[in-house]
Symmetry: C2
Subunit: 179 residues, 2 copies
Amino acid sequence: MTELNISGREANGARRQAKRAAARNVDIDLGPLDNWIGFYLRLAQSASFQAFTREARGVDLSPGRFATLMIIGRNPGISQTALSRANARDKSSLTPVLEDLERRRLIRRVRPKDDRRSYQLQLTPSGDRLLQELTACADKHDRNLDRIIGPRERARFLKTLKKVVAKLQEGGDANGADE
Amino acid sequence: MTELNISGREANGARRQAKRAAARNVDIDLGPLDNWIGFYLRLAQSASFQAFTREARGVDLSPGRFATLMIIGRNPGISQTALSRANARDKSSLTPVLEDLERRRLIRRVRPKDDRRSYQLQLTPSGDRLLQELTACADKHDRNLDRIIGPRERARFLKTLKKVVAKLQEGGDANGADE
DNA sequence: TATTGTTATACTCTATAACTATA
DNA sequence: TATAGTTATAGAGTATAACAATA
């Protein structure tokens, strides 16, 4: 680091530059944050979320609900409990979501004869159409990520992401697999 | 826990088993979801969030606020606007957070003479102590991730994560971040 | 006019605990 | 007793728009 300022004019220039840099989020010292996975996971998650939303502008369904729709579409007859687990969310979080999807005629809930506590979830035709539409958006978003990451690194990256999810969830399930 | 299925209940037993498998989130077909970065980013983010919270149990500060504290600690005198940018959140989201941190005597807000619209943020001694404490928790969490990912892959992974953030944000900034 | 931070407000996502209706 | 789903409720986190003070 240079510590000599030759002229006042240069110092001013440098200061202005630093200010603009700060405004652009350069020159902010993140400290250990800059080396922590969790911090960047948060940023990446929200950036990806927003990018998908941009891709799917005009389609009125959030990424989270899209995932819900997809899981139902791929697993017709799935129960709410199983769905909530696939989504890693509490079942109570699902109730208002499914209510909404049902009200919009995107899904149906069927009471099976053999267990009348549960529901079997399935897409309606229009739910299926919306799913197709969103899948196309997601594909586009995904190709975008491919361009950013590169196909080879992408495979590695996804694999690691999955590993992190699996191991952390395993450790976090009720039983402390904690040290 | 042991469940023996006696007599003519084989079908039932198999059904129960399938049910347990589904309950464990095995056998759920995620379709394209299983190959989408965004989906696993969400899961990884929330798993990491929870793991950190477990690590920092007893310390009353969320990961998000920890990041805020860290940025202030590393950049004494930073303004709220610059902080909100470093955090990729709107400045209005910051107001209640900073109010809370100030009420708890973890940060101070100083009005600089030369621009009395802004605040200069800094940690109090006890804010600094808490930051140290949380940093230790985060280190532990991080070593945990190291065990999961492996140090070499970890570097790659983080690099990719950063690239994704940079590129997606660049594309998504309504106002071009350049110039 | 532009910028810094606040206010008012609202929306999404999520969880916990108690509940119901079945099983 | 145990399980599937709902209700009631609460809280965190976030954003938009209008605003006051200051530049």
